[in-house]
Symmetry: C2
Subunit: 751 residues, 2 copies
């Protein structure tokens, strides 16, 4: 539903008539999105921002929480300001609201589009019940660099899967009708290419060719636009040497002219002023650059050094001709249109029903869903000798600094979460096991030997109190418990703020103190299950070698402990599949499945070194775990790959079918994956690309025939002229359980 089609006709006349009444200050005010600053409930009227609202100098606020507060602020806008224009209330509702789902990277591993859509719906329901009408989500930045902290906030490395998820999220937030009071305006971000910072360092320069942009990084943004997303957030990075926030090619030529986007563009926080540091001008220059490029709304700083850019400069820039009033009018029009589309002019308190929060936020039902979602997002990385699922008997030692930390369970960027109410693993385990087994707990180690690093990785109230004991005392306590247990669950990995914004790492391993703990636990000879918390792909070669069972749980959200326990004991059979490659070491980065072949590909699949082929001296090319990888407690056999034809023309299709059998001892779910290789192109093409997937459920012993249909649309790519075309010739297809899928066939696209 492109936002334009939402009754824009009637709105247009109304919007124009409002604009005709506005002073230039009021117009610029609509483009201003300040933080709410010091507002606390009951004091809104006397706050600094209240005065600005009253003067018509604010178009919306962000990260104000609670319906009472929002109602109070909205009241100022619609009762005290001259033109009574209601405000937008935005928030980072990223992976749930108070009911928190797994971090987006984890959620993407469910490969369940309906479920993902429902998480966004539920988030919208809770957020709108609390007064919010606009979320800065979905974040759809493709990333291939696990050093980058915000890899946790995206859906991994694949443009096809990323596009599907972008679509599901937009539909989830915005629903079919934005005028409902339980749907909200979505905002796709960070436009564009934010996931490719050089050296994996957040905010760093991005650089790539246009053809890579179009084929590999832009598709999810476009998918969100095509799904009707109402707003777009400009990214911090530069593109072709021009910051996105001031990049007219990006925000106007591509976004509006080529893609037909009709909503509005907002900056990321302080994005306009940051262009001064980028070195493209002074505050007047950069604000004018942003407006002229296509930015409509300024998510503004609020300090003396970084004040609101538009508010402080645009009037003067109109006066001296740096910007045109018509462009300001266009931006105002887009923002007022969005407010109409949300129904705010009709009822500015539409999202301010004070009876909703207690009925709709963080409810039992919602938490139950969060528990299910979390368990569906976990990825079983290793399970030697069917160590998992565990039995609810005997003595279970739960060891590790992440075993009993409620505040870390929601992961990064979960602004509305009441993090102390999340369910930590120790509690969840006790609940699920009940009195059937004995749970013994020890912390075992701190998060890191380095206290300073630990603090950075547990910011924003996610502290894991540093244990006063020495490392040895902590470990000894753990070993004493472990040695008396039947099985050890080691809850290790990253704390929540090891990933997220401005949380890039150059070391991709589990922190050394925890590795030392793990090794000591392994030496007890007891079976060890590693429950791995992480916000990024980690290089866990040692763990993969030495630990019999590894369950990657990411950060599972509100119901973490219960969900993990559901999986550990087999109440849920894990079915998550990685959406980002796990490298062998940081030196392999970037490593991703849909790479080009190069002219000197390695001639063997065993990772044997070959001189004068494209490989390293010291590590093989393959990842530790490939894209699409994930085990189950049962096993799946693939057989009988069939194509209905070995040729298709540009108006035809090929139907691919494969028989998948649950050949193990548990009912389970499997993500059946279809990859395509365009054998010869006018430009080089990836060795394979995901072009379809289906998550199916199979009873023990059951076989299902899964079919995929490919049309010419699925074979298109952007060529050297950036035309989106399919080229006749052979296409190989691969079907299987992960991106190493080996069942293979081929067909020809004819002219």
């Amino acid at each position: 539903i492109p936002i334009k089609t939402l009754n824009q006709g009637p709105f247009e006349a109304k919007v124009d008539s409002i604009i005709s009444l506005m002073t230039i200050e009021e117009k610029i005010g609509q483009l201003n999105l300040p933080t709410s600053g010091d507002i606390t409930t009951g004091q809104a009227q006397s706050s600094n921002v209240a005065k600005k609202i009253e003067e018509g100098k604010v178009g919306g606020l962000f990260n104000v929480k609670s319906v009472e507060k929002i109602r109070e602020i909205q009241k100022i806008a619609v009762e005290k300001s001259r033109l009574k224009i209601p405000l937008l209330f935005g928030m980072d509702v990223i992976h749930g609201y108070e009911t928190t789902f797994p971090i987006p990277l984890g959620l993407s591993c469910s490969w369940d589009m309906e479920m993902i859509k429902k998480t966004a719906q539920m988030a919208a329901k809770e957020a709108t019940a609390d007064g919010i009408n606009w979320t800065f989500s979905p974040m759809v930045d493709i990333s291939r660099d696990p050093r980058w902290g915000r890899v946790s906030e995206g859906s991994g490395e694949d443009p096809y899967l990323g596009s599907e998820i972008a679509k599901a999220m937009v539909h989830g937030y915005q629903g079919d009708d934005l005028t409902n009071n339980n749907t909200m305006l979505a905002c796709v971000k960070h436009f564009a290419l934010y996931g490719a910072p050089e050296a994996g360092r957040d905010y760093n320069t991005v650089d790539m060719s246009k053809i890579r942009m179009y084929n590999e990084y832009l598709p999810p943004y476009k998918a969100a636009i095509d799904a009707g997303v109402g707003s777009v957030m400009a990214s911090f990075n530069e593109i072709d040497g021009v910051p996105a926030t001031g990049n007219k090619w990006l925000l106007t030529d591509l976004l509006r002219t080529n893609w037909g986007f009709n909503g509005f563009v907002v900056t990321d926080y302080t994005g306009i002023y940051e262009m001064i540091e980028h070195g493209v001008g002074d505050k007047y220059d950069v604000a004018a650059l942003a407006l002229n490029a296509g930015v409509d709304m300024d998510m503004a700083g609020d300090s003396p050094t970084i004040p609101a850019a538009f508010v402080k400069t645009l009037k003067q820039s109109v006066d001296n001709g740096k910007v045109k009033m018509a462009d300001i009018d266009a931006a105002v029009k887009r923002i007022l249109t969005a407010k109409y589309e949300l129904g705010l002019f009709e009822n500015p308190y539409k999202y301010c029903d004070t009876s909703r929060p207690t009925k709709e936020i963080f409810t039992k039902e919602n938490k139950l869903f969060a528990r299910k979602v979390a368990s569906e997002s976990m990825v079983l990385l290793k399970n030697d000798n069917q160590l998992l699922p565990l039995k609810k008997t005997g003595t279970i030692a739960l060891i590790g600094p992440l075993a009993n930390t409620a505040v870390n369970m929601a992961g990064t960027w979960s602004v509305a979460t009441k993090q102390h109410l999340s369910n930590p693993l120790l509690e969840g385990l006790k609940t699920v096991v009940g009195d059937k087994a004995k749970i013994e707990y020890a912390k075992g180690s701190n998060i890191d030997y380095d206290l300073d690093l630990e603090k950075r990785a547990t910011m924003f109230g996610k502290e894991i109190p540093r244990d006063g004991r020495t490392d040895k005392e902590l470990m000894d306590e753990a070993l004493a418990i472990a040695s008396k247990s039947d099985v050890i669950i080691a809850a290790l990995g990253e704390s929540a703020e090891f990933s997220g914004e401005s949380s890039s790492r150059t070391n991709l391993q589990i922190p050394q103190v925890q590795k030392d703990l793990l090794n000591a636990l392994l030496k007890t000879g007891k079976p060890v299950v590693l429950v791995l918390f992480t916000g990024r792909p980690l290089a866990i070669v040692d763990e993969n070698k030495n630990v019999p069972a590894i369950l990657n749980v990411w950060f599972p959200g509100s119901e973490a402990g219960l969900a993990i326990s559901d999986v550990l004991f087999g109440d849920v059979n894990p079915s998550g599949k990685l959406t980002a490659t796990f490298p062998m070491n940081v030196g392999q980065v970037p490593l991703f499945y849909n790479h080009k072949n190069t002219g000197r590909p390695l001639g063997n699949n065993e990772g044997k070194f070959e001189k004068f082929k494209s490989n390293y001296l010291d590590v093989r090319n393959e990842p530790l775990y490939p894209f699409g990888y994930g085990l189950s407690y049962t096993t799946f056999n693939y057989d009988n790959l069939q194509l209905n034809s070995t040729k298709m023309d540009t108006s035809g299709s090929v139907t691919i079918s494969v028989d998948v059998t649950n050949s193990g001892n548990f009912d389970g779910k499997e993500v059946v994956q279809l990859y395509v290789r365009d054998v010869v192109g006018s430009v080089t093409r990836p060795v394979k690309e995901l072009k379809g997937f289906q998550k199916i459920e199979l009873k023990k012993g059951e076989t299902k025939t899964v079919t995929f249909k490919l049309t010419v649309e699925d074979l298109k790519f952007y060529n050297s002229n950036l035309d989106f075309i399919a080229e006749p010739g052979m296409f190989q297809i691969f079907v299987g359980t992960d991106s190493n899928a080996s069942l293979s066939s081929q067909f020809e696209l004819t002219k």
Copy 2:
């Protein structure tokens, strides 16, 4: 001297008249550059390639060595083939011929353009004395990724310095007159962008924006073209999705049309057939693609699976219209022109004077020069408490697997070196010390714990025989010697084939077995000097912390041991400056001095973590050693920075002067460096860029005033339209001893 100006007039008519006589097979033959295969002296006439030469199917040969053999082969071409067209004889003469200079990365650290030019002159003199008339050098690929093995073969990360070196090398090889018998045709490579393989893995995909290409990677190739280089080698990688070898934009539009290149283009070895693996067509397609893109000569494979591409396909492709005869003629014309320019038609045996080799190759004089060059290329990384220079007294323990290996001294890609004749450190040390001090030697460790990795890193006759003793026995022997010494010289690092082609590493540290040895040596309490052998920037944080003195010697070439000893004992005061950044760890890669500022630069220079700024959680942004860094035994003070004007217009200039004083206790050389920052641009500009340097010599206590002149040409860059322009505004300048230069001033470029 653009090659066109070398009497092209007269050649043109001659060339055209030859072409008019040629059959299509003979034309395609001229485009063929096979390996010499199985030829041994005295057997050329009966070899397989001899037959092809006789049939006119060969344009040149590569990597045949010795004047007798080349004379014998040339004789076949000019006496037995129908048209008697002489052959080109090419070779990888990369850093010297038999007299071998430091690897190019090391050589670049001399920052001495005259000396670098002289190395190329000497290489040309030796190579031409041995019959070679064409070198596949200079390699000018900018690289910022120390994982990439061929970083050793280039001149580091900077386009300005890289361009100066490219020019010096071309002038050195080609001289003023290519018809002299001691100059040779140069070949700039690898065109283009080969130094930017993804993940630092050799031959991997390259991707970057056009604006980055133009500003950061293309300048050294262009500098070589402008210096009149006679040939260009296409690179293995793709550019904008099209392999360079088949990239018409690159090889015709940019190279010939925009840059005016008039020489010929050769592929890299098997480059055409590799395009089949790239996925752009079958053997007919890729050969046609190459020719049509602008390739003139096919450096050809010689196996049944990878035969000569042009020879096997072009005739058929002419017949069926895939290629035009006119394009073949153009290629033939360029190659015949080069042969005329070299004077081969006048005297095909011009380079076959059998009396020259013994008089001109690997002479005492040449070796003396190599010794000087090597000592000028070494970089003193650390020297606490003036541990260096050492005194020639007492007992010196020389420990390490690189201490006594002649065959590793020349480093990688030194095809003509008689590597057993190189001077290893043990021998050089004994020679230089004479009987003044006692030298005790022990190997101490193998190169690596991993025997397989060690083998890969000591290929091509560079074996360091694996010691049969255990690691402990080796170390114990070393410690016994070390503990009785007055000072320890630890000769550690990479063996020669740890870098070079297809020698990429994901681990940038000194191999662990050597680190363990070094730590044990440090524990003896004796002063330790680390003599670091390496072909790339290494992450030596631990060594920098623990070892009092570190001398980076790269691979110093033929006279390694003597040159190192010259520096260790102060006969030469080190003056090398890094041309590639040394990172703290591999996770920081790519790390380079001339980066963009980003919108959220770190607000402190002490590497203190700041949330929501562009930095890592676990390591600071700064490198271990920055670009331009290198210590001396003396110290230099910078003072009195002056500009003759704070404004310049586009026809004017600014003269910058600074007083540099030798404030220490040794005479010494210093590379005075000038950096410029373009404060505001229409596109983002680097935080600084090298724009001038001067290597000066200062006596103890002496002061010199160094001046630089900047004109508008120095301030130009490629903007969004790829126009090469300078934009009015403020420019900051920084002058100092490395890229952290802090003496600063500014001026304005006015309209």
